[in-house]
């Protein structure tokens, strides 16, 4: 009975539906699911930023700003140095710095964390708009790397093994984060700090230090996400380039119950609905208004949430600065 949860039922349903469509038209279904993974990966990675922070008790609504700034830095450093690896490195560095900025505001200054995140968003919009110059290009995007042998698998080849290096790395980060959070000492301590910081403190964990480290790592993941967007997925940068992905990621984090795999699944579902919405327009199979197709991803999200989510509980100490009790 343990495996008959609503969530597993949903996964089986989605898999069955995909298998059905695949049997009807293999190449289009493969294209749709592979597009869905491209939609999903940046959202899932951005959700990791949120999970890393909130699991240790810091609310980060500045994900959007982190993505925007790092996508900007990735693009312009790549363009100025003609080296996309330097662009990637710079964006990860800037992402971590923004993480540290959040940590300074939230942990050291004990500021309201919503305000702290908002500051990062405003700063990002302002700076990237101000410093933006048009007409620059990067030497190339991170090229697609098809993994030998695996790429020849039907369906799974194009869906999972025909992407760029940052895609694979991003997926690796998500899976590692799951293992790290739930199977390592660091993960246990991080979660303890997010749930009950005073107990963690009593047990000898430095709450402030762990929060600093985790928020900085989260920022670095945000930097990677920005690089993925501007150096691999698109190959350019425009003002307002991230178009709200950082906020969608927050919703996916909650939807995925602050669990990296949950958020990945949620992002994949969102990506699937977007790709299918596109496909409905590509095929013009049915004459339904595009407005309706446009809202499909959101309606489906609501339905799935209603079926599968159940009770969702955030980390208990989220958003609260930790004040050591006086001895």
């Amino acid at each position: 009975m343990k495996y008959l949860s609503k969530r597993n039922l949903l996964i089986v349903l989605i898999a069955a539906a995909t298998a059905y469509f695949y049997s009807k038209d293999g190449s289009v279904t493969t294209s749709v699911v592979s597009t869905a993974t491209s939609f999903a990966l940046p959202l899932a990675l951005a959700a990791m930023v949120g999970i890393m922070c909130e699991r240790t008790g810091i609310v980060n609504i500045g994900i959007e700003g982190t993505l925007l700034t790092s996508a900007f830095v990735a693009f312009f450093v790549s363009s100025l140095t003609s080296n996309i690896l330097l662009g990637l490195a710079a964006s990860i560095a800037v992402g971590s710095l923004l993480g540290l900025l959040l940590a300074v505001m939230a942990v050291t200054w004990k500021m309201d964390q919503i305000i702290a995140g908002t500051i990062i968003n405003i700063l990002a919009t302002g700076l990237t708009s101000f410093l933006y110059v048009q007409g620059r290009t990067i030497p190339s995007t991170f090229p697609e790397y098809d993994i030998p042998k695996l790429m020849n698998l039907p369906f799974f080849g194009p869906v999972l093994f025909m992407h760029g290096p940052l895609f694979y790395f991003g997926l690796f980060v998500i899976l590692s984060l799951y293992v790290a959070l739930f199977k390592t000492t660091w993960g246990l301590r991080s979660r303890a700090v997010g749930e009950h910081p005073s107990s963690a403190d009593t047990a000898g964990v430095s709450v402030a230090r762990l929060r600093y480290i985790n928020v900085a790592i989260a920022g670095a993941i945000g930097g990677l996400t920005g690089s993925f967007l501007s150096l691999e997925l698109v190959g350019s940068f425009e003002r307002g380039f991230t178009a709200g992905k950082g906020f969608t990621a927050l919703a996916l984090m909650i939807f995925g119950r602050w669990n990296p795999l949950g958020a990945l699944a949620a992002a994949m579902m969102f990506g699937m609905t977007q790709a299918y919405a596109n496909q409905l327009m590509i095929d013009q199979v049915i004459q339904i208004p595009t407005q309706f197709i446009g809202v499909l991803p959101y309606i489906l999200t609501i339905i799935v949430l209603a079926i599968s989510a159940g009770k969702v509980r955030p980390p208990a100490a989220e958003g609260q600065p930790y004040e050591k009790a006086d001895a």
């Binding site: 110059v133 007409g135 178009a243 327009m281 095929d283 595009t290 407005q291």
Partner: protein, 341 residues
């Protein structure tokens, strides 16, 4: 307590930098002492957006140059709630001409024109529903340039599948581009007596519809993976994202929008065969000239066209170039109907 106050002050200071920062990457002239003042209010977008707002701004600068004592400056709108406020900044400063850029400002412009009867309003992409004589709507027949782009695409496709990645259908100019494109492909298909599949994907309507490059790129990737080999990208950053994506796939072709994007989206050079244009620059500058003398209000129809092939001319066979040259005047004068209302 003191610590918190310092923290809040520091935070505010940082926020202020953020707020004041969207200052000008593009120099903003000071027109306060000029004889003939022209103010441009952009739509949600910047004067260097590589397409729509930039062309309108270039047109205003050209127009100002042709007038003695002419001076043009601009305000970038960052929130659609600010349209009226931004127009009022120029209105209260007694500007001679206010150029409002974008279909979304249509209603706000009509209201402002009544409020400032002495100022001439040029509403770019706006149907003129106002009775005010000081208001002129500058409109374009995007369906004509979309049709020409589609006609060309219909002759260039090798897989007989052509696609489009556009901003929201609810924005009339975007719809006219898209529908014109579809009908242009169909016209070319009929001439060649073959079947060509045309698929146009629109972004959902909303605040991000003109700057969602990742969506544009991913959606273009979806079309490419299904064998579409000519893709029309139209709608600010959303369309530019599609162009950038197509450029990374060898041998694929893309078509830009609004201006000749060869000059504004260099990353698209490997694929950009043409752009479906509307002559915003000459339209705005002509109307500014008319504002000084010969103004008639109502609606003014600007020119539509497609851009030169530039480096990709070799990809367009001479016979196809001849066909496009032959049909262009017919589409523009209406002999060949685009089929878009």
């Amino acid at each position: 307590m003191l610590k918190r106050i310092t923290a809040t002050a520091a935070a505010l200071a940082i926020a202020t930098i953020g707020f004041s920062a969207p200052a000008q990457a593009v120099a903003k002239p000071d027109c306060s002492k000029a004889k003939f003042k022209i103010g441009v209010v952009t739509d949600l977008g910047k004067v260097d957006d590589k397409s729509f707002n930039q062309s309108a701004w270039d047109g205003a600068k050209d127009g100002a140059k042709n007038i003695s004592g002419g001076c043009a400056t601009y305000i970038e709108t960052t929130d659609s709630k600010d349209y009226a406020k931004n127009m009022a900044l120029f209105g209260d400063a007694k500007y001679n001409v206010i150029v409002t850029v974008g279909y979304l400002m249509q209603d706000a412009s009509a209201i402002a024109a009544l409020k400032y009867p002495k100022i001439k309003f040029i509403g770019v992409d706006q149907n003129n529903s106002s009775t005010a004589a000081n208001m002129t709507g500058l409109i374009f027949e995007e369906d004509k340039s979309g049709f020409l782009a589609g006609y060309l695409a219909g002759y260039l496709t090798k897989t007989n599948k052509v696609g489009g990645v556009l901003a929201a259908k609810e924005v009339p100019p975007v719809y006219r581009y898209g529908q014109g494109y579809i009908n242009g492909v169909a016209y070319a298909a009929k001439e060649q007596k073959k079947t060509i599949k045309t698929s146009v994907v629109y972004h959902e309507v909303g605040a991000t519809m003109f700057n969602d490059s990742p969506w544009g790129a991913t959606t273009a990737g979806q079309l490419l993976s299904q064998g579409y080999d000519v893709i029309f990208g139209a709608g600010g950053g959303t369309g530019n994202g599609a162009l950038a994506k197509v450029a990374t796939k060898k041998g694929m072709l893309c078509i830009g929008v609004d201006t000749d994007q060869w000059f504004t989206v260099p990353e698209a050079h490997p694929c950009l065969v043409t752009s479906a244009m509307k002559s915003l620059v000459s339209g705005v500058s002509d109307l500014i000239g008319l504002a000084q003398s010969g103004w008639s209000g109502g609606e003014y129809i600007g020119d539509a066209a497609i851009a030169p092939y530039h480096d990709l001319a070799s990809k367009v066979p001479a016979a196809v170039q001849a066909k496009v040259n032959a049909i262009t005047p017919k589409v523009l004068d209406g002999t060949v109907k685009t089929g878009v209302k």
